[in-house]
Symmetry: C2
Subunit: 288 residues, 2 copies
């Protein structure tokens, strides 16, 4: 959309076009407010019914929540608005209309069952907490990659369709591969060893792994994203140094860049970057 302004960038004195999702409509009689939400935040759009074109008022106030609209108008300071500014619209366009009866409440005020949430994932994803998870996850991956690169590791992408299992201890998903037996890989283990053992020496991969086990716990997944490291000439201490550096870097990045997201998840107070060296147990200590 050309010339669109993010809600966070709408400055008083400007005329802007904002676009996003209808978060809430507050109709107070002569005056009504539409709260528009985009990826940067929310903005208030003011409708003074008696002073505005009837069509404009009707378009703006009869739209269902979570519909996608755009609005063009002057930005003004308004201390009572949630972000201190509001827009008085000259034009409102409904880009995509939502159903009037939403199957779940994306504002999060009303809880929904997990199955309802998954069946309506587009709406569920709009919740602040769910978005926070995606933002934190992206931050963790970025921090891990940067740390691996600082430690001279090369990023690799290993095959996911393989002829045999990598290691014991887990079941594999079989694939029909042009009439041959094949499986989805449970770990990049063998591939990262191949390349680490071939001069590249230090490699990492952040990618999907697949394990065909029926679990009765939310802590195991049939498909997950693994963060893998392999180093030639590394003893266990050097391997643990790398793991410790990557985990710490991830915590630090989340601490620095995800304050709002931690807050949305109710974790702002308990979140702590690990300090000092991680305890390391010998094999005998671990068995005990």
């Amino acid at each position: 959309m050309e010339n669109r302004t993010y809600t966070a960038d709408a400055e008083p004195g400007e005329s802007v076009t904002v676009a996003g999702w209808v978060h809430e409509i507050r109709d107070l009689g002569g005056i009504a407010f539409l709260i528009l939400r985009d990826t940067t935040g929310k903005i208030q759009i003011k409708f003074e019914k008696d002073e505005m074109d009837d069509d404009l008022v009707e378009t703006g106030l009869n739209v269902a929540r979570e519909s996608v609209i755009s609005a063009t108008g002057a930005v003004e300071e308004e201390p009572r608005a949630p972000t201190g500014v509001e827009i008085t619209p000259d034009a409102v366009e409904v880009v995509a209309e939502a159903d009037t009866e939403l199957p779940l409440d994306p504002s999060g005020k009303v809880d929904a069952e997990l199955s309802t949430r998954l069946d309506n994932r587009t709406l569920d994803l709009r919740k602040e907490e769910v978005q926070a998870i995606f933002a934190i996850r992206a931050e963790i991956q970025h921090a891990a990659r940067e740390q691996f690169r600082e430690l001279d590791c090369t990023e690799i992408n290993t095959p996911k369709i393989v002829a045999t299992g990598t290691e014991g201890g887990t079941e594999l998903f079989p694939i029909t591969y042009f009439g041959e037996e094949a499986f989805m890989n449970q770990s990049p283990q063998l591939f990262k060893q191949l390349i680490a053992g071939s001069n590249v020496e230090r490699v990492f991969e952040i990618g999907p792994i697949f394990r065909a086990e029926e679990h009765n716990t939310p802590r195991h997944l049939n498909e997950a994203t693994s963060i893998d490291f392999e180093g030639a000439f590394c003893d266990q201490h050097e391997a643990m140094d790398v793991a410790e550096a990557v985990v710490t870097a991830a915590y630090e990045a989340v601490n620095e860049n995800c304050a709002e997201e931690l807050d949305a998840l109710g974790l702002a107070e308990e979140f702590e970057v690990p300090t000092g060296e991680f305890p390391r147990l010998s094999y005998e200590e671990a068995i005990e």
Copy 2:
């Protein structure tokens, strides 16, 4: 390996332990040289037969090429050595012995058939050109991710096991998923649309895609890594802006950081960072 020094960091006057692969042995009679290769380069190890312990000489010179060894000794300047320094060893240890008959020549002097290369991928991966491909690939991914982040895109990881195809035009690999029909995903399309359409607005993924087609060309793969972008409120021009920025950033990163790798691939002269805007065709122009 504790206290190991990379060959590139071995400075004259120091006593170091280096470790890596036996690249070459040049036996000139009274004197012999072992060229040791690690991820940072190569170093010369000098054996003066009459002045050194017989066991040491035998261990160092009877080892098969591509074996893994470590060597400890004094680093000295030697203008005639390939890197200007050489090590006179006090100790040599064979970490892992290679077969005396290698199925292919990792120095690349003798060509091997593709099937031989794939059957002996550990050796094939040791070739300078093959390593260059991995290094350039990692650089491209890093540059693409950084550019996406600068353009406010959130990195996502979408499911690879799915219930239906994303789009027409390609065959899917079927999976046996706990007795249910499932497939390996051909594209993150639907998932990235779900999240882009849910406030996150701009997302990207660099991950595997799977297409079950028998191709008779090296330009199509059954498993590949795709670089995907999706943006809410983007028209085709904004989407092309993102694609152009990412492709250009990847070229720039390779140009800046991969001079040696381009040289190894014989591409140093022809490699060029695209300048100026990419040509954009209308639908009608494309049809013509």
